[in-house]
């Protein structure tokens, strides 16, 4: 009892002194949820618009993460795990938490502009949105298999509800149901993988996993050994759970249906935020294999190659499937799948480089550039994809349609929106000088570095390059519809004032251009984050 007592005292001590401080952004967001729900109950503050409370909470969270990131980069704070090692506080996780809270701000602003949750539903919607964000932030800082599962589920459950939020629409409800069932299946597989891993290693902590694995792994026997086979299968199953979140082929089936059924704002949130969180988790999980054991490294290496093949397949599948789409949200859903494929390539390159037999200084530098490229890609992706979905939502509010054919001739009616769409589309294709070009370039560069390690990466690189060409055609269709085709007679008009809608669109789209024009300013920060994550320095 004494032991347990001192443990409790120690935990309380740590919790109050460190963990709560480091967990403050998430706590603020949780508090925001409580306030919003209270407002709903208390008759006095009934009239207070919930979106402003949500926005204030998002801003506070963003400010807190910004301060944390600043103190980490500046050296005032140091990386550490908290909540008894369940979560990790370092540059990498803080960057993603900052990223997510910034995204939360932008999404809430967008919903304010489009008015998608009405007054009645506001608190429910923002509760779900913020709740999902908290889950994503936990994914980004998860340091334990338990937190991995909790984070994924905490994100998924509000997402299901948000997809089905458009009440009374058959498509929406159907999409939500599909999402739930599919998510449950994927979660089951992942949970099975987690339990296998935890059972084998006797711990859930990611930093300890490599060491434990090296103890149990059978040296020199490869996959013919049952233990090794189990380790591979367990890792694969965990990856399936993440692949579901990332909508990686062949676990993407939910994505087009869910996006089509959900409101464009929700689709935008899911496409960007859940990917950012999942990729942070994937990188963290992949790096958990780092150790001195060659056998463990070779397992991770094989997983990395597999991820590369999956990435190539995902990008190809996403792009080709987008060809035949006539619904904007569906088209963008497949585009999202394709981009997940590109980003998966960089994680694959990271693992291939990191766990190759020839690991050295050069491979370390190259794996740095993988993380750097991934972060840069995500950062650009935030703006360009949110921009595209936001513009779809804004246009839907006026013409009540999300079909591509109804976009004909919009170029003259709402020049600012179409200009923003043009920037986003060019960036999604990867044309210079947009940010998308440098993002793709960075990822292909790291894949190219990995080609010196394994020949399969050549195939991955080739697939990435060809996919860039494939993607050109369906993206251009959007511009063709907007600028070249005439507006049909009697079509609904789109009228937006520059303030505040145009300003918001420009605020999202111009960073895409800015990131392309001044990439060096951001890559420096990313480089620092990546080097701390990989080398501790």
């Amino acid at each position: 009892m004494h032991d347990i007592g001192s443990l409790v005292v120690h935990m309380l001590d740590e919790t109050t002194k460190t963990s709560v401080r480091l967990f403050a952004p998430e706590l603020v967001l949780s508090g925001t949820i409580v306030v919003m729900l209270l407002c709903r109950i208390l008759p006095v503050v009934w009239r207070v618009p919930t979106q402003w409370i949500a926005l204030a909470g998002a801003f506070s969270a963003f400010a807190l993460t910004l301060c944390q990131f600043d103190s980490l980069v500046g050296g005032a704070a140091r990386a550490e795990s908290f909540f008894t090692g369940l979560l990790m506080f370092d540059q990498f996780s803080t960057f993603f938490r900052m990223f997510l809270s910034l995204f939360l701000i932008l999404t809430i602003t967008l919903t304010v502009l489009t008015g998608i949750p009405d007054r009645e539903d506001g608190p429910d919607f923002y509760t779900l949105l913020i709740g999902a964000t908290i889950g994503l932030m936990i994914m980004a800082s998860a340091n334990h298999l338990l937190m991995l599962f909790i984070g994924v589920e905490m994100t998924s459950v509000p997402s299901y509800a948000m997809v089905g939020f458009l009440k009374g629409r058959k498509k929406s409800s159907e999409a939500a149901l599909k999402y739930v069932v599919y998510g449950a299946g994927a979660a089951g597989v992942m949970l099975y993988g987690i339990s296998l891993l935890a059972g084998l290693t006797g711990t859930g902590s990611l930093p300890e996993m490599a060491e434990r694995l090296s103890m149990i792994v059978a040296q020199g026997k490869g996959i013919s050994d049952p233990t090794n086979r189990t380790i591979v299968l367990a890792s694969l199953m965990v990856l399936v759970g993440l692949a579901f979140k990332l909508s990686v082929f062949p676990f993407h089936f939910w994505c087009p249906d869910a996006f089509e059924g959900a409101a464009a704002e929700v689709a935008g949130f899911l496409s960007v935020a859940s990917k950012a969180g999942a990729f942070a988790l994937l990188v963290r999980f992949g790096l958990a294999f780092s150790g001195h054991s060659k056998e463990v490294s070779s397992i991770a290496f094989a997983l990395g190659i597999g991820l590369g093949v999956l990435g190539a397949a995902t990008a190809t599948f996403g792009n080709l499937s987008a060809y035949g789409q006539s619904n904007m949200k569906r088209l963008l859903a497949y585009s999202t799948i394709a981009h997940a494929g590109y980003m998966l390539m960089s994680v694959s390159a990271l693992m291939v480089l990191r766990f190759s037999k020839y690991a050295g200084a050069e491979a370390d530098a190259a794996s740095l550039s993988c993380i750097e490229g991934l972060m840069y890609y995500l950062f650009v992706y935030l703006f360009m994809n949110l921009g595209a979905f936001a513009i779809v939502a804004l246009i839907r509010n006026q013409i009540f349609s999300e079909e591509l054919d109804d976009y004909n001739g919009l170029g003259t009616q709402c020049p600012v929106l179409c200009f923003g769409m043009t920037i986003c589309v060019f960036s999604l294709i990867g044309l210079p000088p947009m940010g998308g070009f440098f993002a793709k370039f960075a990822i292909f560069y790291s894949v190219f570095k990995a080609t010196s390690v394994h020949w399969v990466m050549w195939f991955v690189l080739g697939a990435g390059a060809i996919n860039t060409v494939f993607s050109l055609f369906y993206y251009i269709r959007i511009l063709k519809a907007m600028y070249i085709k005439p507006r049909p007679e009697g079509a609904r008009k789109v009228n937006y004032d520059l303030m505040p809608v145009g300003l918001f669109v420009l605020m999202i789209c111009l960073p895409v251009l800015g990131l392309g024009l001044f990439p060096a300013r951001f890559t420096e920060t990313f480089h620092h984050v990546a080097s701390v994550l990989l080398t501790g320095r």
Binding site: Y182, G185, V189, V232, L236, M237, A302, S321
Partner: protein, 821 residues
């Protein structure tokens, strides 16, 4: 003195650049601001050149009072004692003058740099100025004459002030006349550009800058001769002038190359660097010793350049031990001949004289300004400016070229019937006189004639312009006659010009009246022969020529031919006047419509007549000649004894005036009297034939038909050049064209045909194979893409099954990838 130099440079720069400003404004904005029918552009041009005249005159006056003043005024006390003996010999003053010139220490030449254009090694290409009395006299002369001619032209060119000008001399295919917009503004913008170029040429401080503006006046001349570009004769004449000048410029360029190689500088004057070091200019590098000899190497074949200054600032050859710059004597001759070649082209000297008569196709004011008074005189000016660089051999060449030109042109002028052509040939002849004067060692005499000629020839051209305007563009003298009563002002001013060019005078009549006019009263001690300007200048040239002949008896023709030419000149000039203004009208219809020109045209005539008559007052003791001779290169004054070096000798300018001890007249007097006699004879014959009709000129023409035909054919020069150059050039050109057409074009065509054949096959390949592959790929990709949609069935049961299937499949795949134990 620096302040004086700056003042002069500033004034002359303003005078130089104002016409450029006028040109730019007119060519860019005249049409937009004022339109075709406005004279505003012309007034702007007149203002620019008139202000230039004021600036030039001020500069001249300042120079005269501050720098040139001392020379004359200090010489005066000695001279006043001899007022009573005007023809007496002025040795005393001359030596005094010489003394003052050397020792007064007053700076009279001002040079400097406006702007450096480029630098190649040591050689700097820059815009410099070089101002001495010659520059100033040229500035005043050019701006004054140009002002008069601008004013005259506002009247003469007024027909162009229309939107639709009908050129009666150009016939269209349907038998009508050519219609075009009026070009009044354009005429004046060209004139302004010309004035800018001409003044730039005169102020230039290095030979390269001279060359730049040399070409620029050539362009202006081309534009102005071809002003009526639609007339075939005008465009041909413009081309001819330009091409013939290129021949001379070729020599000029050779000269420039030699100068650059051997001297390493283009500058006339010494260059003072910021560190007080002095780089010698061209003129300093070829200083002569007291005997007029160049410093030479021991072998005598090379000239040593005087590049070192002694304690007094005089340039001398460095000692033999130190590194010396030398130039082969023959190379110096070639350089001189080369530069003179440029002068031959520009000044229409034999054998390149043929372009000038054709240049009369330009409007008459242009003939007066460009092709008599200023541009064609630029060749003479350059020869004078470049005088220190000429060796005695070059000078002999110059003298002979001038002599031949003077004679040939004068003989052709006898038979010419077009009033402007007569004046054109007379211009060539007079330019020949100037060259002759320079060539025989009369530096000041040649340039003196340049100035006087400019006045009386521009006067006569304007008079002819007035006649032509009055006769409705009839230029043939045989159709005129008896115009004296119809246009008295024109006739009388023309007579002033004729007397001036003929060199008539009444000796022994002195007008003391002039003493009271301030500027002209200087040196009044010699009194004045009652004569107009041409007499004095021609006198000076012939006197030098006689002195030259006395020293070099072999070259006696250099005196006799000019003397004969003086008679011929008098004859044909009076012929022109008698033909045009006296006698009975030969074309009554024309005569009835003749009218005197308006004041805007006659007033310039009167002004120019005044200067033509009196600008040379006092002759060689007058102010103009003295001012000019102030800039005379120092070695000219003492002559040159060529007997030692087996070249020609040059006369000493003072000895010309010396009466021989044994009695009789001085060289100058002998020459003057012979010239006067020749002029009188010429005039009398002319009077008898054309005014009194003692002999019918047509009879003479029939009697000497072959001679007349020869002269009327201009000595056959045009035919000769046609056979020698034009026809061979055509043959070569046709040959080259044929080679081009049948050889090179064929080769090219073959290549092109091959290219076409290849591209046809390439197209088939492209369309059939490449496009096929691409289309196949595109189509298959598209159909694959569309088929992928089928995977997305939307059935949840399948989706969940897929999860299990996928996990198993991936696991199997990993087995394949994972290394077996």
């Amino acid at each position: 003195m620096d302040s004086l130099g700056n003042t002069l440079a500033n004034l002359l720069t303003i005078a130089w650049l104002l016409p450029l400003f006028g040109f730019v404004v007119q060519i860019l904005f005249a049409l937009k601001w004022w339109g075709r029918k406005s004279k505003t552009g012309a007034y702007l041009a007149i203002f620019c050149i008139g202000a230039g005249f004021v600036c030039s005159s001020t500069a001249f006056y300042k120079w005269d009072t501050q720098a040139g003043h001392l020379v004359f005024k200090e010489a005066k006390p000695a001279a006043t004692a001899e007022v009573a003996a005007p023809e007496s010999e002025p040795t005393a003053e001359a030596s005094d003058e010489h003394h003052h010139k050397k020792s007064s220490g007053k700076q009279t030449v001002f040079s400097g740099t406006f702007y450096q254009l480029a630098q190649f090694g040591d050689l700097k290409i820059s815009l410099d100025y070089y101002i001495d009395s010659l520059t100033l006299a040229m500035f005043v002369m050019v701006t004054l004459i140009a002002t008069c001619i601008h004013i005259f032209a506002t009247g003469y060119m007024s027909e162009e002030l229309v939107e639709d000008y009908v050129d009666h001399q150009v016939h269209t295919h349907d038998g009508g006349h050519f219609h075009r917009p009026g070009r009044f503004y354009r005429f004046f913008s060209y004139l302004s550009l010309f004035c800018f170029a001409m003044l730039g040429l005169v102020i230039a401080g290095n030979i390269f800058q001279v060359f730049i503006f040399w070409e620029l006046v050539g362009i202006c001349s081309y534009l102005l001769i071809g002003f009526y570009i639609e007339r075939h004769s005008a465009s041909t004449a413009a081309n001819k002038a330009f091409i013939v000048n290129r021949v001379g410029d070729f020599g000029f360029i050779i000269g420039l190359m030699i100068l650059w190689t051997s001297f390493g500088t283009f500058n006339f004057a010494d260059q003072h660097a910021a560190d007080h070091s002095v780089k010698p200019g061209l003129f300093s590098m070829v200083t002569r010793d007291d005997h007029g000899e160049f410093a030479k190497t021991s072998g005598g074949k090379d000239v040593v350049l005087t590049t070192q200054q002694d304690g007094h600032g005089a340039w001398q050859a460095p000692p033999e031990s130190s590194p010396r710059k030398t130039i082969a004597y023959t190379l110096l001759i070639v350089a001189g001949l080369g530069v003179f070649g440029g002068c031959v082209g520009k000044s229409a000297q034999f054998p390149l004289q043929t372009w000038l008569p054709d240049a009369m196709e330009g409007p008459t004011p242009v003939s007066a300004l460009v092709h008599s008074a200023t541009m064609v005189a630029a060749g003479v000016y350059l020869a004078g400016r470049f005088y220190p660089m000429f060796t005695p051999e070059v000078l002999l060449t110059i003298a002979y070229v001038g002599c031949i030109t003077a004679f040939v042109a004068a003989t052709i002028a006898i038979v010419a019937t077009d009033i402007k052509k007569v004046l054109a040939y007379s211009t060539i002849s007079q330019l020949g006189y100037m060259m002759l004067g320079l060539g025989v060692g009369g530096w000041a005499a040649g340039l003196f004639h340049l100035i006087t000629h400019a006045f009386f020839k521009s006067l006569m051209f304007l008079c002819s312009g007035s006649v032509i305007a009055g006769c409705h563009h009839e230029q043939e003298m045989p159709k005129m006659g008896g115009l004296l009563r119809k246009m008295p002002i024109t006739a009388l001013t023309m007579l002033v010009g004729v007397i001036a060019i003929a060199g008539l005078a009444i000796p022994g009549v002195y007008l003391k009246f002039w003493w009271y006019i301030p500027y002209l009263s200087i040196n009044s001690d010699h009194g004045y022969v009652l004569s107009f300007s041409g007499f004095h200048s021609k006198d000076a040239i012939l006197a030098t020529a006689l002195g030259y002949t006395k020293l070099n008896p072999l070259h006696f023709l250099l005196f006799l031919i000019p003397l004969l030419t003086a008679g011929i000149t008098s004859f044909y000039m009076f012929r022109l006047w008698f033909y045009t203004f006296l006698g009975k009208p030969r074309d009554q219809h024309l005569h009835d419509h003749v009218h005197e020109s308006p004041w805007v045209m006659t007033a310039p005539l009167l002004v120019l007549a005044f200067f033509a008559a009196f600008c040379a007052l006092g002759g060689e003791h007058g102010n103009l000649f003295q001012t000019l001779s102030h800039s005379e290169p120092s070695h000219v004054e003492h002559g040159f004894d060529g007997s030692q070096s087996h070249t020609v000798s040059l006369p000493d300018s003072h000895s010309l005036h010396v009466k021989p001890a044994e009695g009789g007249a001085s060289t100058h007097d002998v020459a003057g009297r012979s010239a006067l006699l020749a002029a009188f004879i010429g005039m009398v014959i002319s009077y008898l034939i054309y005014a009194k009709r003692v002999v019918n000129p047509d009879d003479i023409k029939r009697q000497a038909a072959s001679v007349h035909a020869f002269l009327a054919n201009k000595w056959g020069f045009d035919d000769l050049y046609d056979v020698m150059f034009v026809k061979p050039a055509h043959v070569v050109a046709k040959f080259a064209a044929a080679i081009d057409k049948f050889v090179f074009d064929e080769i090219l065509h073959t290549f092109v045909r091959m290219g076409i054949a290849v591209s046809k096959w390439d197209r088939k390949f492209d369309e059939g194979v490449i496009d096929g592959i691409v289309n196949l790929m595109g189509n298959s990709t598209h159909s694959l893409a569309l088929s992928l949609r089928n995977v997305q069935t939307g059935k949840i049961r399948q989706y969940v099954t897929f999860i299990a299937v996928s996990v198993v499949t991936l696991f199997v795949l990993l087995f394949a990838l994972y290394p077996k134990g």
